[in-house]
Amino acid sequence: MNIQTPIKNTPAELALIDAFGERLALLPGDGEVMLKRDAAIEAIKAGLPTRRIESWHYTDLRRLLTKVPAFDAGLEAKPVAPLIEGSPVLTVLNGVAGKPVAIEGVTATPVAEKLGDGTYAPALGAQGADDAIGALNSAFVADGWLLEIADGTVLEKPVEVQNVQAGGQVHTRFAAKIGNGVTATIVERQTGSGDALVSSVDNVVIGDGSEVTWLIVQEQPDTATHFGQFNAWIGKDAKFTLFVMNAGGKLVRQEIRVVTKGEGSDFQLRGVDLLHGDTHTDVTMVLDHAVPNTGSREIIRNVVTGKARGVFQGRINVHQVAQKTDAKMACNTLLLSDDGEFSTKPELEIFADDVACGHGATVTEIDHAHLFYLMARGIDEKTARGLLVKAFVAEVIEELEDEALVEALEARLDGWFAEHG
């Protein structure tokens, strides 16, 4: 018999399939959008990825996703104070975009509109069979923001987008078409108060010669499941910095997919994962150096407490044409508990012959010599440990150079340490 037996769906998969049936009539878009949604739910029906799928090896989603809450339109989410005071804020509150805000040089359109008129259809769909987050989000996405930033725009304050959940399910998109010669910082907040299932997908196109920093600050409650996917294409001579901080969530997977599209482009990834309790956090990056003369640096710093489990997978593909690629990746973990764990999988796939690529990974405990030195100056053990742990991650944050951002992020860091350190 050559007929494939359909798999027996898990309760979570069944809940998603049922939710799709119930939700369908309320989702914006028809025609091409609806075809994309149908195709996406078929991918879920075929089964969520297991550890047998290479890219999900450390996060067996089929086993780990046990809770799929129902949509609840009655729940109300409130915006949070922006990371930088005075930033213009575009909100998505429990899945629905708030009011637009006027920002010079930026056109902001709710994604629901773009789904409704069908223009967003090409952006939907999974990127390959293992793209469960893309599939889940494409099936259910209801709203979000599309930012179009005009050529030459210089944003004085960061623009902040917020995805705030109050429970149930939330599926959001933030997209940005950033023109040429733009200088901009975008802050993305992922937070909320409920036991939600959240998916949030970003598609960001960066124009030639632009300098863009994008920060994802994820601070979901311990009860939430959070799936993020960040896709970016970097133009010629553009410099793009992505900063990702994970400081919450029960089950978290943040994917990062970046392509250097233009020669002379540069990608910087800085990641901070603060893991506590009985949680699972996975950051998975795939970076394609697709043209000659591009550079990248990835530095991930993890602090693991309690029974937390963390994963970093970093894959750098250097295409055959991508000569003179200069790529370096480092993942450093501070393991503060015997019950915590962190898995790192760096991969370099290099098809060009004139490149400089490297990677390194370390797992350490607090350095006792450092601790002794601080204590020998009268600093009590708890404070000294706190200083050293903070220093370990602050090094990465301080590279951001923008003092206001550094201060704001360090304040988030202090908050986390006060609660979990």
């Binding site: 002794f372 009268g378 000294a384 050293l388 991650v393 301080e398």
Partner: protein
């Protein structure tokens, strides 16, 4: 002020005994030099005084102002007034020097029941102290000791010592890695701290430092014991004749 009585100590991990029945008394206001060949236990003694966990005291006692410090952790010892100037100060990336000084000074003030220093007061104190050591304030914006030269690290140690105003200063090979100009600056910094209320223990391999910091007493440490004590002339004698004679006498 400091009384070390029949002290025996070993490396906690593997049990090698390093200090083997050491006796030493240093009075208030005294500057005591401890000299000895390599491997005699000089640095170990300084670490034990500061409370480093890697060493285990198996016998004897260390009294500071009449009270045993053996049960105190390094932070408590520091708060009670003991300061160790490290031979190799730690580089600690990510901890800004200024922030470190603030936390350390205020931790000790808190332990003594004093109000924390406000930022302007703190800055002034640090600036004044740094000035006397010819240190650039720009250095203090960098992470603690990171990228400092050997001499800069030693100056930073003396700066901390000045700011924390300890009762007992233990200086472990402070002269190592210093050129003659830096040695002068560091020695002046130490001499400025000499006071009737404060004892200073200078651990050194060479007599050179003692030309600048003139000791009241000199003690020779060999195989974990003080084998000879004398005044500053003992240091000159060691310089001229080496340790062999003294070791021979003791044996």
């Amino acid at each position: 002020m400091l009384e070390i009585k029949n002290l025996h100590a070993r490396i906690a991990d593997e049990g090698t005994e390093i200090i083997r029945g050491l006796n030493l008394t240093v009075a208030k206001g005294e500057v005591a030099a401890i000299m000895g060949p390599n491997g005699s236990g000089k640095s170990t003694l300084s670490y034990i005084l500061a409370g480093r966990e890697d060493y285990e005291v198996t016998e004897g006692d260390i009294l500071f102002n009449g009270e045993s410090i053996l049960e105190m952790d390094p932070a408590e010892r520091a708060a009670s007034g003991i300061f160790l100037a490290f031979q190799y100060p730690m580089e600690i990336p990510g901890v800004a020097t200024m922030e470190f000084l603030k936390v350390a000074m205020n931790a000790q003030r808190k332990a003594r029941g004093e109000e924390p220093l406000k930022v302007p007061e703190l800055l002034k104190k640090v600036k004044d102290a740094a000035g006397t050591l010819q240190m650039d304030m720009g250095m203090l914006k960098r992470p603690l000791n990171v990228g400092f030269s050997g001499g800069e690290k030693k100056r930073a140690e003396i700066l901390q010592m000045k700011l924390l105003e300890p009762k007992l200063c233990v200086m472990d090979e402070t002269d190592s890695g210093l050129d003659i100009d830096a040695l002068k600056i560091v020695s002046d910094g130490v001499n400025a701290l000499r006071s009737p209320d404060r004892a200073i223990v200078v651990i050194t391999h060479y007599q050179r430092l003692l030309e600048h910091i003139v000791p009241d007493s000199v003690h020779v440490l060999y195989k974990g014991q003080i084998i000879k004590s004398g005044d500053k002339s003992l240091a000159l004698d060691l310089e001229a004749n080496g340790y062999a004679g003294v070791i021979g006498e003791a044996a």
